[in-house]
């Protein structure tokens, strides 16, 4: 018997492997659909520096149907730049098409999250997706699309143009089989987390029961848009090199390397090629397969390349993070640590970490909020590098923070490539460079919290002490007056104003610590 091999389309591949992308079951699928669409909207707005207005509504497809899982209509609407009408079918109806195949920090990474949701909707409901989009606020293009899964091609079911009434942006509405009953907690958590790091957005979520969750904008400051950047030689693989060579037009390798790679100038390129023993004047296309492999290996090993420049990244920044924390956590104390840029395997990254303490909203114990390029990560917390740092690498006792203290740790990693462990984008691998940066940030934050707590407790002591004096000294004064048979009590107020008592402070602290 002979095995038959057949080529499958990307749509087909993801249809068969939908677990990979977070569409395992109806509850997870509903969560993933909302998340992918919201993230596309936020990305689109941020890229064009538009303060995002995102409206999300989930309603049952058939109001008579009561038992989950069932069909839901998911509608996500934004005020983004819109999509050029002619690109709509390809952008929404073909897997792996999209703007995210360049090296630039963005929420999505594989460029397929949104399309995946559409694909999932189609296979569970057999209903077309509706796309409405306007780039100019004048004309609004409305499409109904299906995906030809085997051919990975969009099928336009309907197309019309209407008046957009001055509104630009995109609306995606699709029907999917979902389970809100089992996913409502995660979905609400997702919005809360998002609001924490996107305080410059107005986000409204109307859930299937009619409840409205509104996260208002509290700042108009937006993070700088991420810039496109060339790949760093440390971060490429053989396949990438092969493709780049195929697309190249440079006449020699020295020029090719300096034009196509980050941190490689002509000088560095020549030095590197001399190191590898390849003639800098050869045409890139003349390289043999073996030479390509050897060159990539050498690129990884060569240490003279400057580390990647983090200027292309778009971290949140202290102000925005602070606005989000104040708005969503209202803590008694918080501190934000922004680590200097670092890199792993040729990809730049920045760790921003915030530690919030106390207040009415933070519960006892340590609550971890994880973000990667501002995407909340909600699943598989215990596999995440931040969790590992908090629970295994930090000696909390050293910072004299009481057990059960109400603490929130917020970690945002910004990178051109987040080292997720899975396509599901839920937890970050424990790369040593990243682990080190998180650890340093957390330590610094804990030192600040520790200092705050000890200052607060000494202030409380001071206050308590004064109150004690005010309570007892007048009594002592009066009893001594009676015993000594004097006509007026001695003037005890002198004792309080003299600052005499301050010397006792240290002793008292020692006493309370023991």
């Amino acid at each position: 018997m002979r095995e038959t091999f057949s080529e499958i389309s990307p749509s087909d591949f993801f249809y068969r492997n939908r677990d990979l992308a977070g569409f395992t079951n109806p509850s997870r699928a509903l969560y993933s659909t909302i998340r992918e669409l919201v993230e596309n909207s936020l990305d689109a707005c941020e890229l064009e520096r538009i303060l995002p207005e995102v409206y999300v509504r989930v309603i049952p497809y058939d109001p008579m149907e009561t038992v989950d899982p069932k069909k839901y209509i998911v509608r996500v609407q934004d005020n983004g730049p819109g999509v050029e009408p002619e690109r709509v079918p390809e952008a929404f109806g073909k897997v792996l098409y999209g703007s995210k195949y360049k090296l630039r920090q963005s929420r999505g990474m594989f460029g397929l999250g949104g399309t995946m949701a559409i694909l999932y909707g189609q296979i569970t409901s057999n209903k077309p997706v509706t796309i409405e989009t306007s780039v100019d606020g004048i004309k609004r293009y409305c499409y109904k699309l299906m995906i030809d899964i085997e051919k990975n091609k969009p099928i336009i079911v309907e197309k019309k143009i209407v008046d957009s009434n001055g509104l630009h942006g995109t609306v995606v509405e699709l029907v999917i089989e979902g389970d809100y009953l089992r996913s409502s907690t995660k979905i609400q958590e997702y919005f809360k987390h998002t609001a924490l790091v996107v305080p410059y957005a107005n986000i409204t979520f109307v859930d299937p029961t009619g409840r409205i969750f509104y996260y208002p904008r509290t700042t108009i400051e937006m993070p700088p848009p991420p810039k496109e950047t060339l790949p760093h030689p440390h971060g490429i693989d053989v396949e990438f090199m092969r493709r780049t060579i195929r697309q190249s037009s440079e006449e020699n390798l020295a020029k090719f390397l300096s034009k196509r790679f980050h941190r490689v100038g002509l000088k560095t390129a020549i030095k590197f090629l001399q190191y590898t023993g390849i003639d800098p004047n050869r045409s890139p296309k003349s390289l043999t397969e073996e030479e390509i492999v050897n060159m990539v290996t050498a690129m990884h090993r060569y240490e003279e390349f400057l580390p990647p420049d983090a200027g292309c990244l778009s971290p949140l920044g202290e102000n925005i993070l602070a606005a989000g924390i104040v708005k969503e956590l209202a803590p008694e104390f918080f501190t934000i640590i922004v680590r200097p840029p670092s890199a792993y395997s040729g990809y730049p990254f920045i760790i921003e970490l915030a530690l919030a303490y106390g207040g009415k909203m933070i519960e006892k114990g340590i609550k971890l909020y994880r973000f990667a390029n501002r995407i909340p990560l909600l699943y598989d917390e215990a596999s995440d590098v931040s969790w590992k740092v908090i629970n295994e690498e930090i000696d909390w006792k050293r910072y004299k923070i009481p057990q059960e203290a109400p603490i929130a740790v917020i970690v945002n990693i910004s990178s051109t490539r987040i080292p997720y462990k899975t396509v599901g984008k839920e937890y970050i691998a424990d790369r040593p460079e990243i682990e080190r940066e998180i650890k340093n940030a957390l330590r610094e934050a804990l030192r600040k919290l520790s200092a705050y707590l000890s200052k607060r407790s000494s202030e409380e002591h001071e206050k308590k002490k004064i109150n004690m004096y005010l309570k007892y000294l007048p009594l002592i004064a009066n009893f001594s007056k009676e015993l000594a048979k004097k006509s007026r009590p001695p003037n005890y107020k002198k004792l309080l104003s003299s600052g005499e008592y301050e010397g006792e402070q240290k002793k008292i602290e020692e006493f309370t610590n023991s």
Binding site: K464, K465, M468, Y469, Y472, L473, L475, I476, A477, F479, S480, K481, E482, L483, A484, K485, K486, P490, N491, Y492, K494, L495, S498, E500, Y501, G503, E504, K507, I508, F511
Partner: protein, 364 residues
Amino acid sequence: MKESRRRLKSSPTARKREVQELLKILGEKIYYQIENGIFPEIEMPSRSVKNIVYDESLKQYVVGKNRVKRSSKNIKHLRPFTQTIWLAFFVDKLIKEGKTSTLRDVYYSAQAFGIEFKDQAESDEIITDLEALLGKAREDYNVYPEERSAIYGNLTIEYTTPGHEGKRLNLASHPDGYLIGPSLSTAELIETSAKMVFAVEKGGLFTRFVENKVHEKYNALIVDTAGQPPRSTRYFLRRLNQELGLPVYVLTDADPYGMHIYMVIASGSANAAHLTELTVPTAKWLGVTATDIETYKLPYVKLTEEDIKRAYELKNDPRYRDERFQKELDVFLKRQKKAELEAFAKYSLDYIVDKYLPDKLKEV
């Protein structure tokens, strides 16, 4: 009542005046410290276990040289400091008004002055602090315990209690005896024909002694200690001994606890080591001794585990270094027997008075 003895009218009133003077000095010290901008502080002998030592010459526990300072500047001390000063103020008032108070009264009285005690143990502790601070027993500043014991015999006293001042009473007037309470404790001892004092452990035997006219036969005063005597009784026994020069003889059950009743009368307790005026160092233990159980063939019961444990403790106690006590403790441990004072009734109700007592008095 052939021979009577008169003593100078003195001690209770004089002692009260002395306490009042000490309280005024304390008040002035604090007053001027505050006036001079200094957080007031007081100093007293330390009552910690480490500072309680046995004084061979006094034959009792005394406090050592260590002193503790209590400063109102220290937050930890502030509350007890205030409590102590309040108590000083409170007892000053008691003395002035000629009133007395019990330990429990003190605990409750504090509330009226904005002073809190979390329980009576805390207020008792402060009362003891003031004793150490002034070097005077609480009875001297009119604070008495609840328990009372009794006295009977030919002794005339004169009250100093307000409302009764100058009134005299002979303590042989009532066969049930008189409570050794605040009024009796502070009364002047006017005259007596007695030659000795019998302190007995039990009310039953006290009544027997009165019925059998021990007070006449032996020319004695009879005191019921009602178990381990309260401090006011120990203080009164000391007055009988010191002011009237009467020897004190103690009769207890024949067991380690009985022995210890005697020892506390003679040598005091570690709890009151800061006070040296509660003991009768010359008091004698008549019995009932462990040896007496054999000699008089008394009905006995076996020592309990607790009795045995107590006996071993006492053997190591410096107050029991005397050979006679060591021997008696050894006999207890060897024979494992104990007996009660009532056991003599085996022979007759009068036996203890007519036979045992003369025997033992000869012995000591």
